[in-house]
Structures are given as C-alpha cells and as structure tokens.
Symmetry: D2
Subunit: 340 residues, 4 copies
Amino acid sequence: MLVILNAKASEKEVKEVTSRLEAWGYKIHISKGVEKIVIGGVGVPEVNELECADVLRSLPFVEDVLIIVKPYHLVAREFRPEGSVVKVDDVEIGGPKIVVMAGPCSVESYEQVLETAKAVKQAGGRILRGGAFKPSTSPYSFQGLGEEGLKILYQVKKELGLLVVTEVMDPRDVELVSQYADILQIGTRNMHNFRLLSEVGKSQKPVVLKRGFGATIEEWLLAAEYIAKEGNPNIILCERGIRTFEPFTRFTLDINAIPAVKELSHLPIIADPSHGTGRWKIVPAVAKAAIAAGADGLLIEVHPHPEQALKDGPQSLRIENFLSLMEELKAVAQAVGRTL
Amino acid sequence: MLVILNAKASEKEVKEVTSRLEAWGYKIHISKGVEKIVIGGVGVPEVNELECADVLRSLPFVEDVLIIVKPYHLVAREFRPEGSVVKVDDVEIGGPKIVVMAGPCSVESYEQVLETAKAVKQAGGRILRGGAFKPSTSPYSFQGLGEEGLKILYQVKKELGLLVVTEVMDPRDVELVSQYADILQIGTRNMHNFRLLSEVGKSQKPVVLKRGFGATIEEWLLAAEYIAKEGNPNIILCERGIRTFEPFTRFTLDINAIPAVKELSHLPIIADPSHGTGRWKIVPAVAKAAIAAGADGLLIEVHPHPEQALKDGPQSLRIENFLSLMEELKAVAQAVGRTL
Amino acid sequence: MLVILNAKASEKEVKEVTSRLEAWGYKIHISKGVEKIVIGGVGVPEVNELECADVLRSLPFVEDVLIIVKPYHLVAREFRPEGSVVKVDDVEIGGPKIVVMAGPCSVESYEQVLETAKAVKQAGGRILRGGAFKPSTSPYSFQGLGEEGLKILYQVKKELGLLVVTEVMDPRDVELVSQYADILQIGTRNMHNFRLLSEVGKSQKPVVLKRGFGATIEEWLLAAEYIAKEGNPNIILCERGIRTFEPFTRFTLDINAIPAVKELSHLPIIADPSHGTGRWKIVPAVAKAAIAAGADGLLIEVHPHPEQALKDGPQSLRIENFLSLMEELKAVAQAVGRTL
Amino acid sequence: MLVILNAKASEKEVKEVTSRLEAWGYKIHISKGVEKIVIGGVGVPEVNELECADVLRSLPFVEDVLIIVKPYHLVAREFRPEGSVVKVDDVEIGGPKIVVMAGPCSVESYEQVLETAKAVKQAGGRILRGGAFKPSTSPYSFQGLGEEGLKILYQVKKELGLLVVTEVMDPRDVELVSQYADILQIGTRNMHNFRLLSEVGKSQKPVVLKRGFGATIEEWLLAAEYIAKEGNPNIILCERGIRTFEPFTRFTLDINAIPAVKELSHLPIIADPSHGTGRWKIVPAVAKAAIAAGADGLLIEVHPHPEQALKDGPQSLRIENFLSLMEELKAVAQAVGRTL
C-alpha cells in the first residue's frame, strides 16, 4: 500500500500514518519528493488492505492511497498459472475444446425445449441452456415456469443425454435447482447478490458466473472469489455485455475482457453474444469474435420460433441460423488452435 | 405500440403483424409512408406490452417496435398526481419538511452508534441510518455485525427516541430486520434482486429503494413497481450515484434524476451524496444541490471518527462537519420553499 | 512517479528502470515488498512525466506506473489558492456575484435576439449568449448564420449595453469572432480540438471552455492548460453534462464536478443546465442545484418561441419561465452566501 | 415522424401539431388510443427532420417525437447495398482481402520509421501508419514532428513502395498533408470537428474516420455523411474503442459496432486494437476478434523499441510480436472466407 501526502505534511501527520501502518503489521518505507511524500506499507499483514486504505483515505491530510496488490487470491492467475479446467460429467470447460451452451432464454414447454435441444445435439453441442427462474425488469413480464421448468429441462436432458445449465436467483432455491441442473447460472443482475454467491459457493456444483452489466472486471473476479472462498472452485466466468451509452445494441460485449481475464485469472471464460448484443443479426459475428479472442465457450440463445418466444426473442437465433453458425465456428476455433 | 416496417414490406408481412396485434386485443391503425410503414396497436389490452414488442421485434422484417406507454403504473405520477407522502411514525417523507437520515455506514459498536446518533438528534435529525448487514465487493471485507448490529441500532433508537433505517440484503432476513427497523433499505447492488423486492413488498414496512448504479430511471421505477405490486406503497426512492467514466469520484450523482423522478412518479425521492461522490470534501456541496433540485431528503454518512471506520470512511462526514452542513441546508431548504 | 515491478523481478530489470529514471533526472527510492517492488522516481525533472511513464509501461516486466503529481500546473488550485476571477468589462466571474449568461441556442434573426436580450436584461442579466457558428451532428441541420449572426449579436449588445458570449469552432475564425464577441466559447465537441485551444490561448479574450461530454475532469483541466500555456489566463470552465447510459435525459449534468473543480483548480466554473439535461422542464431544478453546489454562474438557453427555434428548442426556457427562474435563483444564491 | 400526445390533448393542440407538419410538407395520419394520440407525419419533405422534431418537442403538450427514418443517406447501406470498396493505388479496402495498416504511433526519426516499415513490408503489409501531427491530451506532451515527420514518411514510402496513412487535425493542414499522404486520418478527438470533416470532404483523398470515443454509431455515420456530402466517397470507418467505466483497459473496443456498421452502412470498416485496448498484451486477441467479426482491416501500432517510444508505447507491439500476429491473422481471415 502506498500512501500519498503533500510534501508540506507535518511530521505529526506522517507519524499518524506510519503508526497505523505499523499497528496493522506493515513495514514502512518513506520517500520524500519535492511535491509529495510517499509512505509505503510493505509486507502482507493479515488485515484487509481495502479497509485499511479506506481508513487512511479518511484522514484529511492524506491525498491518496494506492493499492498495488490484487484484492483477490484464489481466482488470480498466480494461484494456478497453468489455468483451470472445469469438468462437468465428461465435458471440459477451459480445455482445448470450445464448449457451446445453447437453448431458449426461457423454458416455455416440453415441445419447445425438446425441439431446440435436438438441434443443439445435432450441431454437436453437449450443454442445453434454458431459464426456469427468470429475472425480469418488469413485474408484469413472464417470470419463468419455476420447478415445472426445471422438470422439463431434466426430462429433455435425460432423453437426449445432454447436460443442463440454468439460472438460480434466490439463495433459498440453490438446493432445488441443484437437483435438476448440472451447472448453476448466476445472472448479471445477481452478480452482486452476495448471499446467493455464498450459497452457491457452499454447493459443489459448477457455476456460470455472468458479469454484472455495470461491474468492472475486478469486481467480477471478487464475486468469483466469494464462491471460491466457500470452497467451490468450479467457476466459469461469462462475459455478457456491459452497459454503455451506445443505444443501437442492448449492451456492449466487452471483447477486451476475454484476454484481460485470461491474464488476470486462471478461470475459464465463455461469452454470451445473445445478451451482449440484443440483436440476433449480429450474434454470429460476435460469437466468432469471442472465440477468436480466446473464449473457452459460448452461451447462445436459440429458439425454434423466436417470434413466439415469451422472452428475448429479438436476440434468439433460429435453429437453421444456429446450425450454420456452428459450422462457421468450427473454422474459427481451428484458426486459433482449438476444436469445437 | 408502434411497429415499423420497411415500405417495401409485403402484404403478407403486414398481415403477420396485424393479426398478432389483433389476437392480443389491439386495434389497428396503419400509416404508409414513402420509406416506412407504421402499424399502430391501439388500446390497452391485458397483455404485457414489453413481451409483445419482443415477439414482434424477432420477426426478421420488422425494423423496430416502439412502446409509447410507460411500463409502470402504480408508481407513475398519473396514478397519484398530487404526489405521495410516506409516513414513518410521526415523520413524513415527501411533505414540506426535508428529512435527513444520518449515521455511520456500518454499525461497529454501541458507543460509536450512540455518539453519532446524539449528533443526529442534536442537529434536529429524526432518522438514524446504520448498516448491520453489509454488501461488500470483497469477501475479505467487513460484512457487518448482523443481528447484533440490529440490536445496537434498536437500543440507541429507544434511548434517543429516533427512528432507524437499515439495509436488508437477503429475502430470508426481511422478517428479522423488520423487527428492529422502522424503514428497510434495499441497496444499490440489490435493486435487481427481484425476490428481495417481492419479499419487501409483502411486508408493510416503509422502504428506501436505492437506484442500481447501472440502472436507468425506468428500471428503477420498475423495481419500485415490484414492491408496490405486492401491496406495499410505502416506497422512498434514493438516488445514490451512477457509474460513469469519471474516475475522480466513486460514482456520479445523477442530479437530473431528481426532477425527472418528480415528473415521472408520485413517490418521494431522497439523495445520498456520500455514496454519490465517495469523497467527504464534496459531500456538503452535493447535499445542498440535491435539496435545491427538489429532493425530499438526504441519506448521509456521519462517523465520529472516520479514520477508524471499518467501511466507507473516505465519504463519511465528521460530526462537526455534519452539524455545520445541517445549518447550511436550512438556508437552502428555505430558498426552495421548504423547511428542515 | 512510482514504478511497480513483481517481487521476482531480476536485478537487471530493476536496473533498467532505475537507470532510465536517473537519466531523466529523477532520484531513486526502492521499496521491496513480499509481492511487489516499488521504485519511486523523486524530484521534478524537466521531462514530461506522462511520456516517461508510458515508456516504462511498455517494458514487459513493469506491472504498472503510477503518477502522483497532477499533470497540469497553471490551472491547478495550488497555482492560485485564493481562486481567480475573470473580468469582462465590469462583470466579474468567480466573485461573490453569480453570473447568468442567457439567450437563444442559435442566432436566427435580429428580432429574436433583441426580444430575448431584453428579457435577459430585465431579469438583471448582463451577458447574452447566442450561436452564430453552430456545430451540428447532422450535415443537414442548421449550421448558424455565420458572420451575419455575429453582427446581429453585436448590434443588440450595443443597443442594450450587454456583453456577448458566442462559440468559435475553427482556428481560422478566432480573429473574426473576437471582433464581435466579449467572450469566446469553445463547445463540448471541440474541447479536444487542440489547434483551436492554442489559437484561443494566443488571444487575450476571456473564454468559456465547455467540458467534452466524453472527457474526464483531468482532461478538461488539461484542455484549459493548453489555453493558459499560450498566455491567456481568462478561462471560465463550463460543466454541460456528460454522456452516460441514462436515456431519459440527453446528457447527465455532473454535479459532482462543480465542487471537484473548485478543489482541483482556481478557475471559475459555471454550469449549463440546458444542454446538461436536454429537457426544459427540468432545467430550473438543475440550475438551482448548480448554484447550491457552488457554481459561479449559469449558461441558459432562453428563446421567445422555443417551438419555432431552429435548434435545441426542447431545452430552451420560454421568457416567462426564465424570469421566474431568475427570482428563484436569487433565493438560492443568497442561501449559499452569494448574490445574483 | 411520429408525434406522441396525451390522449387528453385538446383539439387545438392536435391542430397545432398537424398544421405545422402540413406546412413542412408532411401528410398526416392520426391514431387515437386510450392513453396516447399518435400523429404520423408521412412523406419525405425537403426539410430537416431532426430540426422539425426539435421544434415539436418544445411544445409543452407534446410528450415525445420519434424519428423512424435514418438521418444519413449517402453512407447508408440502402444507398449502395452491395457495399463499397475504397481503392488506394492498387490496394482495395472493403474487398475480400484484409488490409493491415501498421507502424509507430508517432514519427520520431527516419531510422525508426524505416525499421518499422521494413517489418510491415516483410509481413506482407502495404500501408504504413505514423503520426506527424499528434493530438495530445497534455500540452506538455510530444505534439509530433509536423511537416518534418510527413517528409520522413514520404521518403520511407518511396524507398519501400508502401502507401502512407497519417493524421490531419487542422483544416488548414489538409492540403499540406495531402501532398505527402495516400490516406488522411481523422482522429477520435476530431470526429466532431465539422470544419475539418468538410475540408477533408472537399479533397478527394481516401480518409480513415475514427469513431469518437464518446460517439454513438449514428453520430459516427453522420460524421461520415459530412465528408460524403462534400463529394468525397472514399471513407474508411475505424472502430477504435469507446469510453466506458472499465478501468483495466484504456478504452473498450466495441466489437458489436463492426457487424452493426456492416448492417447500417455500405462503407468499409477497420478496427484499431491498439487504442481500443491500450495494452499490447491483449492487442493480438482483439485483432483476431475484429477480423472474425467481419472487419475489413486493422490499424495496429508497431514500434521497434516501444520502451523508447515518445508516445503510446504501452500499446505498441514489438516487431517480432507483430510478425507472429500476422501469421495468426492469416488463419483467422481464412476461417471467415477472406485472405490477408
């Protein structure tokens, strides 16, 4: 930690900083410049550095406090430099093979899920996505079929031999959803629902953790740290678009985040071009971009009849478009040394 | 609802739109231009307009769908044009008197809360704020004292005759927190925690609903609608800053949102200049601005010793600064025809 | 400057940093921690610190470079701690009296300007605003009357004894505009037009420098530094809203920026609630907020017939609304110890 | 144009809207709903629709005005549905071959440019980039070598048989820069410098138009329309990152913008992953993503010794990294049916 004071700071003020740092267990280095004094707190004491920094920042004569050590540990790249692979049954996420999770935004009926799941399987996909509990901006919108939806997913999964990923949005539902799903999903609006993160961390289920659309990469990794800290290392990050001023697309998929996360963390990362764009016409281009940028997989909305979808139709691919995208993705995966 | 098609759209395509609209209960108006065809769906059918719009948007020949009726109803200004006043004991929020809720970010000890609460009372404040359950970006940061913190708040409130507002972040805690608090608070990271919104809606407790730092005004009002829809009309909105590209301040307090909400909704609105700036030096200026802009109250962090605070010290006012701010606020309140 | 290296950095790598710092004239302080090495470059050498930092950042083993001295000097608060006052004729901007600059967005005709100017004068205003050269997002929109517009402004100014502020958008026009105007204005889209900044800096005319809607406070102050560096100290900053994700308002007026600029710089600062909101209905509330937050003045669009305006009608106040706002502003100014 | 009124609007108010629309040459369609009245203005009159909309918006009883026709024409996809190809000598931008423009951010010396240019040529590149006039946020930073820099570029171009792209930032320099360069570049900070756009439009030189980092796609296309309207159709759009709240990267490259522009406009589009990320380590991943998303080319910063660069070293690739990236790009180009 580096504490910046004005060069005119009194000895008493410098002392006030150093004695606190020492009390927390830091060793002290002082560097006096013409305009600023920099007090370095060195060592890795057993205190929360973010909190200590805030304490110092509230001293009126402290100009700034800089933290130079990352606030997350278990999910940091340094913790597992070779990268981690999350295994779900016989599917590996984070390995050489790109994993595509596809399906409808919401589970509406057995027939709808079955038709989509068959297409996913036909295209070589192994993981079916579909929402039974749906977070909706409006209380008047469809909120999902709940447990009935979970049962439909489970039935289709059994019939076709697929795996299932589905969202959980309430800490009280983690157990229930875990009975039906192979992978839990934490949605963008719940990335900061810390109680839910902890509950999912206590489970051992693999979890797709979507980035909050207003969250920085660091906050996202700290959310993953919540899960890891409770003992669940099976975390798959998912970039799904951030909110910017651009109105043409619903969100802006942060393509930079893919290589950035690869640098900062050992966790696998997938991308969701459906929510990241909000427009099915540009989903294929952005899906290919994500793979080219190094993503380990994709989460894509596919619907047999998007114009009848109860949710997010505008961003869902029709089955025929999904099938041709999968062909195109194979070439891109190969171009970056991977397979699909 | 207005559905925009290219002027070259076929009759069959126009028919596909109109027959859907009719099936949902809309009456049809068609207006053909040189470049576009506009199909108006008129009437207020008992369907969710947002969902119907999404269905139409997913038709490949539909260029755009525009919704011209607001998606919220119970919290809309039209629902109660005279504005609503939330009563908590003998305190009225939304009336002529500005209400200041002040106290520490986190409850740390009985002594700390008591000292701050005395200052709040001395300055004429009636409502004490303080967090017992704390949402923290890092799992290694202080998470609050939990029920012990609630008890401290309750004890101080009884001793000094104040009212208490405190955060609830888990639907499972609503009942517990309601036993101790007079007003529940939903934090910025939980504005989209729809299960929590519903649970709080089922209670009859007054609730401060903070704006998500990545949420639009419309999404915020829809979150309020979730609470209102469950039967709880006692909602106080709180503007607490949105996330922008500006790095000097932690967040950007959206001052425009205050008159905007007054125009769009009948609910009272308060402002939180502490979180909205993240810097105690500029809190007083922004607090005065919020009142001048028409806010019904303020939520301010005050700490007897910010440099010892376990959380958010950099944005907490010292007691002496808080007391002088209260004096300044009186003059501003009067300038806009209100009292403090 | 602080250069952060991994604690595992080799002696050769440390040497590569220190020898560069020494060559630039810095003295060296090294602080070795468990995870990081911090190399401090101390002193104020005659090099550009931003550039030196970039050079070091491009060394593959350098993790980060932190600059702790502000990159601007002439406009920094430290340069003139008491604050500066810009005098235009007998009007002082930055003194105890709030200065309101009002008028139409665009000059359309002599009659329009005269009618508005009379209202400005009647309300006690001394400075008339109006655009003769207009930056328009669309090439098909009105681009202003050019020199003819300047002449109209000049004529009305002479008749009524007002001062005039008007925009200049091309370095080739600085001389021309200076002949007619008392204050030059640099618009939000030209804040980064460095050639224009330099040209205006060479003139001695007072200048209103609007914040770029995508610019940080630091970049804005650096733009002011461009002007000051050329010898023109008569700079008035103008906060006019930044671009955020909120769609209800055209821009988000950054109210935090007002006290922030007061802390960082000695320059006077005014606010433009017309562009900062884009909606005349909320202009008065935000105008009052800006004054309460410490702004030294306002730039407001007033039009006798907004529904006939060629530009920006939706954000222009009618004359009667402007007159009543001025009354309300008097009370707010007084509440914060100033006059109008 | 669609004008939205409250259903309670009086006949006189409806009349005020319709008579204006008729005066501008629109035909009228009225559609009365339960909550709103929608007045459609149909036809394509010879007025500026943006301005007319603003006039109507300023009527106090008008709730909203929606424009459903795009405000740009010459650069719209409809104008040339097959897409346009910009030819520079024998190089085609927008055709099947991906075009890479590479070189140093700033021209520093003949030796530096020559060394980099040789690498560009060796990798099969045809276009050399390099800045002689540099827009710098700080007035104390390197502003470029000016005409001397142009001469160096010209000399190297002649020696190696390359083409040159370089920035022009002042309308007064367009003629000078055109003498040396094959392609003019308008930088992100000048996208809204309308005088510069017009001046470049009057020239017939091909121009790379970078997106303003705070500009929407629509504003960017309107800036292109400024150039096209003056008679210069040789426009190459360049996505170079937008400003968001994410601090890890300097900007956020908007990958969605690539397929979005392909849908909305016929102009070729390239991407600048160097400025779009600000970190050389993630440049290769984002470069590959841009090609996978459909970009027609790349603008990449390459420097023989980034740690000695006077500008933007942190985002410049070393020559060896550039050469290996070019190999990787070949595979990605092929995967999307193109060549490099």
